[in-house]
Amino acid sequence: MDVVVENLTKSFGYQKAVDSVSFEVKKGEILGFLGPNGAGKTTTMKIMSCFLFPDYGNIHIGKYSIYKNPYKIKQIIGYLPEHNPLYEEMNVIDFLNFIAQIHNIPHYKILPKVMDMLRTCGLENEKHKTIRELSKGYRQRVGLAQALIHDPEVVILDEPTTGLDPNQIIEIRELIKKIGQEKTVILSSHILAEIEATCDRVLIINKGKIVADGTSAELRNKSNTDRLVKIQIEGGEETDIYNELALLPEIENIISSTKYHFEIQCNREAEIEKKIFELCTQNHWYIKELTPIETRLEDIFRQVTQN
């Protein structure tokens, strides 16, 4: 089910939390929502889940609008809120049973569904414990289980892997990827590596506005930072190699890191590999290593969110 967000605007007092945000998420796509604290990610997700209503703009989930059909939308979305609120006095199995009932899952399907969720989220050994007794990681799993129990068409997860151990993070990532094959998944996270590993598309939001939108590769290409290349050239004196490299007009900066190793910063359009190769053949040197250093998502994030 497609999600279409149109000119979404929401203010709290005089502060605009979300400012004319528009984007679209297709079925079978995993969208990663990135942004610094207070950027408007959670507010956007709360509006998507019909908890808050926007000042302007609209959201369509499939053919349903948040204004006209909020009840229908709540039936087809699975939402994990940021602070993962749960009824702490209930035990895990009763809580999931209650959520399944609320979602009008037929009575005969409730128990198999609950057991399936307990298995999927690794809660089998904790099912009779009250939620108050659970560790943060297990509570997060209960939160995930309640968001997924009714097999939702659209899954909205606000920082889903907070508090999980590395093994569980990998398991949850795999689960999200599996869900994302057939369903629409929107997730936010502060862990950029997680977004990169899980999401098909990244959307960076800052001060309520979208500042970057595309796949990780697209964002890297769009990024206006220079290209970085790590090279190791041998067959001559290190100072000669350094001096000759520094004379190349395409190279903007050069750092000699360890012996015969250089880090070169150059323009994105420059054919630096060809120039280095020509320089080496002229001087009878040889290239032992040439590795392009990828622009990390962190760099792009910092670039678009820092003014």
Partner: protein
Amino acid sequence: MNTVSILINKELSNSFNSWSIYLGYILFFCICGFFSWLSTDNLFYLGQATMNPVFGVINWTQFFLIPALTMKSIADEKRNGTIELMLTKPVKTADLICGKFFSNLIITTIALLITLPYYFTLSFLGQVDHGAVLLGYFGLIAMSACYISIGIFSSALSRTPVTAFFVSLGIGLCFQFLFGTLAVQIGTGFFADFFSYLSMEEHFDSLSRGILDSRDLVYFGSVVTIFLALSKFFICKSRF
């Protein structure tokens, strides 16, 4: 309706899984029993087989215990964030409020049932007007419904249960005591009639005397509806 019954079921099982509800019942039973049978002006001194003094004691005990029962209903959901969980599920705000209201009403009705042994004892001791007792119990349930709706409204207004308790007690005190006193102070005229109509004691008295008047039913129904509607308004307001 199905959603409301699921919510009532959840609220009741959570309440009865906690020891505090049983403590509340014991406290209620003991306070009512002490003032009805053991205090200096107990039922034996009255020389009449009437439940009216017991109803008076129950009324005042409920007046203090119901705010304690309802103070957590919405304020706790807001503080723990579970209201976000509930309102992003296929649950309407009205369903959530009705679930809280009816579960609390069931809990208070059970508390009233605990006092039935007093009625049975009294009926052995003398001739009791059974109709008046039945209407008296109905009046107590109606009054509980009013105080529960006031409690839920106060809880919807407040961020913490303690604030909700005092707000609820304050509003309740107006209906229980102040409006009646004001009516007596003013004496006659429109405002005296107006405050007299607002006083809960006035409507309960006629029921406990065995008079079923449609104006009393309209009054209790209106108080419940107005405060529950206001609760819904304040919960929805925070979402816009």
